[in-house]
């Protein structure tokens, strides 16, 4: 069994170390910006200086999930990775003449810089993995984290982060087709195998490819979990889903980044805290409608 002991997010909502997301949630508008915490309270100023926003978000949320234990596994997801440093290094490559240039942007451009920096900050020698599968990057990281718990690990850090860069606006509308604002965010969570320190269980997570019928996938998933549609108290969707369920579109609050379903898990966890009668929350990640990530949460 896999339980969420702690979860935290940095997003376009004022979500960091917030007691319940549902109290502060508001739909994004054109004025919305990333709500950065005071990073220097969470990251050594000497390293902070060099870190891009995605790295700061990843480290701060990861540290927020750490208390008196040492993680024995880290599994992170990111779709496009450290875009700020990637673009910065592309600029260097294309503009700097001569043979000597700074490696900093290159070093921090690789996808595994986030999980790598987390291990450095936490001085953690455990399993350290970075998954990248477009809009399912969070789910594949979560699946690995759940597998680590199944294998006997006691405290596993799972998280996901993505960052938008202004350059991406140029790719609308043909390459980037969403009408949502392009945003950034990171969510980290501590998974544990025991329910005594947790309020929410992750019942299941599954990814689906080449989907042509969302309803069919959903129906089959629920049958496999042995629950009926009426058992579900809330469905958090990325795009409208024609359904009889009570559904909330989480991208209204996150904007568009590929790993926003991790924030939806955070919403799900906080939903249970506010709704005593709720038993099941389903995250239905259909950000890309041809590949789905379904995550089922249950109150402990």
């Amino acid at each position: 069994m896999v339980y969420i002991r702690h979860i935290d997010s940095i997003s376009f909502q004022n979500s960091f170390q917030c007691s319940n997301l549902w109290d502060i949630l508001h739909p994004l508008d054109s004025e919305s910006t990333l709500q950065n915490p005071e990073y220097k309270l969470h990251i050594q100023p000497t390293s902070l200086r060099r870190l891009s926003t995605i790295l700061r978000m990843g480290i701060a949320t990861a540290k927020s999930c750490t208390t008196d234990f040492v993680f024995d596994g880290i599994s992170y997801g990111t779709s496009l990775g450290c875009l700020t440093d990637t673009e910065k290094f592309l600029q260097v490559v294309n503009t700097v003449t001569g043979d000597v240039f700074s490696p900093t942007a290159f070093i921090q451009s690789t996808h595994n810089t986030i999980a790598g920096q987390i291990s450095l900050e936490l001085k953690n020698h455990a399993y350290n993995m970075t998954h990248t599968q477009n809009t399912l990057s969070f789910e594949v990281a979560l699946l690995d984290g759940m597998l680590l718990i199944q294998e006997g690990k006691k405290h596993v850090l799972v998280g996901a982060a993505d960052e938008a860069i202004p350059f991406m606006e140029r790719l609308r509308p043909d390459i980037i087709t969403t009408h949502l604002p392009l945003t950034s965010g990171a969510t980290s969570m501590a998974l544990v195998p025991e329910s005594n320190q947790a309020s929410v269980q992750i019942m299941a997570c599954q990814t689906f490819h080449n989907v042509d019928n969302e309803q069919e996938v959903l129906a089959d998933f629920l049958i496999a979990q042995g629950i009926s549609a009426t058992d579900i108290n809330l469905v958090l969707v990325a795009n409208e889903l024609e359904t009889a369920f009570v559904s909330v579109n989480y991208t209204t609050f996150t904007g568009y980044y590929q790993t926003s379903s991790a924030f939806a898990v955070h919403l799900g966890v906080d939903f249970f805290a506010q709704n005593a009668e709720a038993t099941y929350v389903l995250i239905f990640n259909n950000l890309d409608r041809t590949q789905l990530g379904l995550t089922l949460l249950k109150r402990v």
Partner: protein, 391 residues
């Protein structure tokens, strides 16, 4: 549960299939030569000597694919050639890559910076997860698709995750490995780090200055016994051990006491349930950077003590193929197990003054091989070891 290797495929500067790669290795012929691309022509690189157009024509591929995807297709198709989709076999793919379709997107970005005509469609190929989805769709792999990006240990980690998923009963069969194309981005990156040798790279040699970059892909099919009964495939080797550990020392450098490397080698031996003296050959990461080879040698000494098995790096043949290297070298290890090969380490003259370790210097065949250990160490101290076994 036992995990078997039932398919292998590779492409590198040594050739476009397993046979040509092994032929070059056993004849001590390197694939590293002067590059042909505008960004590689000044350097010695392990470049595959065909253009994207030539490769797509030869392998019937869509020419809009990134080169990373093209190379991945070539190796994945070879590994999967005796396999076919089967609804009773839950089949997945886990690929590793460091920069994904950067080889394509950097062309568009260069045009953007220079104000010349930019083909926005080239950005479609950029996401690192793209190639795995394209290969999965082509081969009819539906059950699970994932991409690992942990720099130079990506493919080894993909292999490891595939094995764990089969062991947990989540998959029956999985295509695992990695792919990376040469790009201006990575060549400039490793040059900026000052670990890029403009002469021949010299793994485990005292005079080593840095790596030669390469490109390629290596894939393996892993299966459970139950899946093999259904697919009718033959066992090539057994994947018996794996471990990933974090060095947590520095964003790019490995620790002098080799914490991560030692943990990953010991962890893999523990999973395989064997003692260090049962390892018959180590395919080292051996990038020929001053830091890696010293740290890896220290790790080998930590784990193997005074009884060091034959070891070598094949990076002086292929160049460092980054995320693909763990896949390519796992394929080489499968053949080495089967045919009793030990591959020699090229360009070696003097052992490291700090350790005195001397790698395998001649090609050996007919050796009885029980277990081969293969290391892959990535940026950010991401250390991975896998063990392949004959039985």
């Amino acid at each position: 549960m036992k995990i078997f290797v039932t398919g292998i495929g590779v492409c590198s500067a040594l050739g476009l299939d397993v046979e040509s790669n092994i032929h070059a290795l056993s004849n001590e012929k390197t694939g590293i030569r002067k590059g042909t691309q505008p960004f590689s022509e000044r350097f010695l690189v392990g470049e595959i000597p065909y253009s994207n157009q030539e490769l797509c024509a030869k392998f019937q591929l869509d020419p809009s694919l990134s080169r990373t995807a093209i190379l991945g297709f070539i190796a994945a198709k070879e590994a999967f050639r005796t396999h076919s989709p089967n609804t009773s076999i839950r089949t997945g793919i886990i690929s590793g890559t460091s920069v994904g379709g950067m080889d394509t997107s950097e062309v568009a970005y260069r045009a953007f910076v220079r104000g010349t005509e930019e083909n926005l469609n080239q950005y479609r190929e950029h996401p690192s997860g793209k190639a795995a989805e394209q290969i999965a769709a082509h081969l009819g792999i539906q059950h699970y698709v994932n991409t690992i990006s942990t720099a130079c240990s990506s493919a080894a980690n993909a292999i490891m995750l595939g094995a764990r998923m089969i062991q947990a009963g989540q998959l029956d069969r999985v295509l695992v490995g990695g792919t990376d194309a040469l790009s201006e981005f990575t060549i400039s990156g490793f040059r900026s780090l000052m670990i890029f040798d403009e002469a021949w790279c010299r793994p485990f040699d005292d005079s080593r200055k840095g790596l030669n970059l390469g490109e390629g892909a290596g894939f393996l099919v892993l299966e459970s016994e139950a899946s093999m009964k259904l697919s009718g495939s033959n066992k090539l080797a057994r994947l018996s051990g794996w471990c990933n550990a974090s060095d947590a020392y520095h964003q790019t450098a490995s620790s002098p006491d080799a914490i991560g490397a030692t943990l990953s080698m010991k962890g893999a031996l523990a999973i395989a349930g064997i003692n260090p003296e049962e390892i018959d050959y180590i395919n080292a990461h051996g990038t020929a950077t001053p830091n890696n080879d010293l740290s890896e040698s220290t790790g080998i000494l930590n784990v193997f003590g005074t009884k060091i098995p034959p070891f070598s790096s094949t990076k002086a043949y292929t160049g460092h193929t980054l995320a693909a290297s763990g896949g390519i070298e796992a394929v080489y290890a499968v053949v080495a197990l089967r045919d009793g090969y030990v591959y020699p380490n090229l360009n070696f003259s003097n052992p490291l003054s700090e350790t005195g370790l001397i790698p395998q210097l001649t090609f050996e065949k007919g050796k009885i091989m029980r277990h081969i250990l293969s290391n892959s160490f990535g940026f950010g101290g991401n250390n991975s070891t896998i063990i392949l076994s004959a039985e």
